[in-house]
Every structure is written in C-alpha cells, then in structure tokens.
Amino acid sequence: MIKFINVTKIYPPDIKALDQVNLHIKPGEFVSIVGQSGSGKTTLVKSLIGEEKVSKGKIIVGGWDITNIGQREVPFLRRQIGVIFQDFKLLDKKTLFENVAFALQVCGQTPKKIKAIVPQVLKIVGLEGKTRRYPREVSGGEQQRAVIARALVHRPKILLADEPTGNLDSINAEEIIELLQKINKFGTTIVLVTHNREIVNRLKKRVITIENGVIVSDQAVGKYML
C-alpha cells in the first residue's frame, strides 16, 4: 500500500514540483503514472524511494511513514521497493549472474542464499540460459530483464519502474511490459512511470496523470490522455 497525503514538494526558491498530491495505491495494483517532462513524475518517484524529502504532507509505504525517513533507514526502504530505471545501470565487468548477485552481496546475504535466489529470479525474467554473459553480450531488452531480476532479489512488495522501456525498441518494450504484468500476477505492486502511449493504452489498468505537480486525472481503467 502506498499513500501520498497532501504531499507538496517545493524546490528553492519557489518551484512547486508536487502540489497537494493525494494518492492511494492498493497492494497488488498495477498503476501507470503519466505526464510530460517536468510534470513532477520523477519527484514523485524520488520521494517514494527516500531520495527526496517532501516539503509538506505525508508519505506512507506499507504502513511505514517515510515522510521524514532517516539516512540509516533508507537502505531498508530500498530493499522493500525494487527500482528499475531507463538507463539499465548494470556493471559492465560483471556477468548477469554477478550483477544480480551484487544486490544481495552488498546487503550482507550469505553465498549459499545468493546461489539459491539468483538463478530463481533469472529464471522468472527468462535469462536462465544467459547467466554467464556480460551486459555487452546481450540485447537491451535482456539487460533490462537483468535489471528487473536484480530489483526482485529482495522480494520487494513494490516494483517501481521509471521509464523502463525508454531505451528499447517496441518488441523488447512489449516483452518488458509482459514481464511486469507477470510479476504483478505474483502479487507485487507495480508502479510504472512512462511516456509510452501505446503501452499505457494497451495495459487497460489504472492510469494517474500528473501535470505541473498536480494529479489531473486518476482513472481505474485509463488511457494516455496528454
């Protein structure tokens, strides 16, 4: 469950990135957030993962008030929210297996658990045969799948995908969306931030539209309106 209660974010001197945003995303939902560049989508994503502190209002994730989250608590929040970005952010000198394992290593998981979890998530994203390949040896779509696998290793309740198809061709983009839908069916809440009109319209899921930091539309089965 994600709740934004009257959330306002003002960047100095007086730029309102978010203005009185009220939002409620239920567990297991698939929500698309759409809006033009500078509409406030990125600020919303950053506030959700504790990268930005809001100026007013309250943000609750899974019953946890993260509005004034401390630096020491941020890592625990990030383990509950898987994040996928447009630029794949894989390490070039590590294989796909090592890239996914890295997320567990840096959080102190034992080698035994890493060996058990990583093949599982790589299988979920359809990369079971390419675990020893380096990012440069696979396609953009496969790289993004590896990023999704890495986001899944902590078994997050929420998966936040910020323009995950931005660097992909339409076939790969479609495959990534299918994968996100598959993950959503397992019960993970998906928050998809995108510009892609076709994808949003085909999903036939909830769509929230942001303009100038204000939610202008929130439709249960929505379309790309801008």
Binding site: P75, F76, R79, L91, F102, V106, C107, G108, A151
Partner: protein, 304 residues
C-alpha cells in the same frame, strides 16, 4: 553476517586500489617519503644526543696543586670542592699517577720519553679533576671554583666546553626544525593525496555506488571500503618504511662508526629496541591522517 560483510568490504577495498593502481602507488610512495623524513629526524636526534653525551662525558675542570703539598691539605680542598652543589665528582690524581698516565700516553713518542729522562725527576704536579653535575651549571661552577682562595692551588684549567655544547645544540635544533618542516610538508601532501585518491576511487566507482544505494546497501557498507583503503595505504607504507629504513641504517652505520670512533652508537639497534614506540606511533599517526582524509573524501563525494 558481520564477518561476511567485513570480508566483502576488504575485497572491494583491494579492488578499488587495484583499479586505480598508479594513483595508489603514488599515494603510498608519498606516504613512504613522509615516514622516511620523520625517521631521518629521529636519526638526527639520536646522533646529536650521542654527540652531546660524548662531549659532556669529556667535560671536566682541572685544578693543579703545588708539587710539594701535603696530601692532607689536598684532601681538605677535595672535600671543600665536593661540597659544591654543581659538582658531580672530584678525583685526586697524585704526582705519581699523573706521571704514569703521561708515560702511558706518550710511550710511542721517543723524544718526549727522552726529555722526561733528561729532567731526571717527576715534573708533573698533582691535580684535582672535577666533573660538573650539569653542563648548564658550568659557569656557576667556574665562578665558585675561582672564588676558592687556597695557597696550595698552582693553576686552574677551565676550557669553555659549554660553547661547544651550545654549538652542537644549535646545529641539532636547526636540523630538527628543518626536519619538522619537511615532515609536516610531507604529511600535508600525504593527506591531500589520500583525499584525492579516495575521491578518484569514488568517481571511478560512482556507477557501482549508485547501484549499491539503489538496491539498499547501507551507508556503512558503501563507505567502508574507501576508509579501509586508507588503512591499507598505512599498513603498506609503514611496512615498506621498516624494510627501507633498516636497509638505509645498515648503509649508514659504518660511516657513523667511523665518525664517532670509540662511541657506541648503533642506529639499527636503537630503532630495534624502540620498534613499537617508533613505528607503532608512525602507524597510529598514519592511520589517523589517512582515515581523516578518507572520511572527508567519502562523506563529501559518496553521495552519488
């Protein structure tokens, strides 16, 4: 769990150093130079202390007594001088002892020995050899000795040894000051270099750090490898200086022995006997300097 994380931190730390190997080598070299200059300062100090000690050992004041003075009168004068607060020791050298010592000293000089034979009697006078308690009280002692009016005193020999000691002290102080400036400069350079190395390491790993933050690594886990690099620099630097400096001391030792002939100055032994004090302290200071530089760099640049 803790040991596992610690193991990974150490591994990442070595990776950081390896990926910026040339910068790491430069950093460690400057650290070694800084430690070398500190040790040179210590060596100069050991040598100058030995030199001052040697000069102090040689300082004494001689009062020559008239040849036919009764021994009881000499003993009374000896007791009077011993009572002075600046006096450490007074030794009476009889006419006979003085002659034996003279003969012994000039046994290889036939001309002197022949002259002594020609005189036919012992030409030397008895004397009192006075050792001062403290060289700094030397002038006071001279004043007090000059104030003693006794008919049995034939002459007094007060060489100005203090001037020599002041000169040695002056040279040592200047060498120490120059050494301090050089050491301090190297320490500052080391601090800046370690700071820069960590900054470059963080820049090289900015993508990795970003991913670590994204997937929920703790701040401690992200920063610790860079702090640990500071410790590695110190361990390598101090270990290298131990090897290099002992090698240097062994090269230096023959020259020291030639220069300070008859004096037991063993630099390697001094460094060996004070190993923990000297190198342990350098290790601690190195750790503090490197950790401080790493900490500042990490807290400033690791927020990618």
């Amino acid at each position: 769990m803790f040991l596992l994380s610690l193991g990974r931190i150490i591994k990442f730390s070595f990776q950081d150093i390896g990926r910026n190997i040339w910068l790491s080598i430069v950093t460690m070299s400057i650290l070694i130079l800084a430690l070398f200059s500190v040790n040179m300062l210590l060596t100069v100090n050991v040598i100058s202390q030995a030199a001052i000690g040697a000069v102090k050992e040689k300082i004494d004041v001689n009062i020559y007594i008239k040849p036919d003075t009764e021994e009881s009168k000499i003993m009374a004068l000896k007791a009077q001088i011993s009572g002075l607060s600046q006096v450490k020791d007074v030794r009476y050298i009889s006419k006979q002892e003085a002659l034996e010592s003279f003969k012994d000293k000039h046994q290889n000089d036939p001309e002197v020995m022949e002259s002594l034979k020609e005189i036919g009697k012992n030409p030397l006078t008895p004397s009192l050899v006075i050792k001062p308690k403290d060289v700094d009280q030397y002038q006071e002692l001279i004043v007090n000795l000059n104030s003693i009016k006794d008919d049995i005193i034939e002459s007094r020999n007060f060489d100005d040894h203090k001037l020599m000691i002041d000169k040695i002290n002056g040279i040592t102080d200047r060498v120490s000051e120059a050494g301090m400036v050089i050491s301090f400069t190297f320490i500052i350079i080391t601090l800046l270099l370690v700071y820069n190395s960590i900054r470059v390491a963080i820049y090289t790993h900015r993508r990795e750090i970003k991913i670590m933050r994204l997937v929920g690594a703790s701040n401690w886990f992200i920063r610790a490898p860079y702090l640990f690099s500071g410790i590695i620099y110190t361990v390598v630097g101090v270990s290298a200086i131990v090897v290099i400096y002992y090698f240097f001391l062994n090269l230096l030792q023959p020259y020291i022995e030639t220069f300070f002939i008859d004096y037991d100055i063993n630099l390697a032994a001094h460094f060996r006997d004070n190993f923990i004090n000297i190198f342990g302290l350098q290790f601690l200071v190195g750790i503090v300097v490197n950790m401080a530089a790493s900490l500042i760099a990490v807290s400033k640049y690791s927020k990618v």
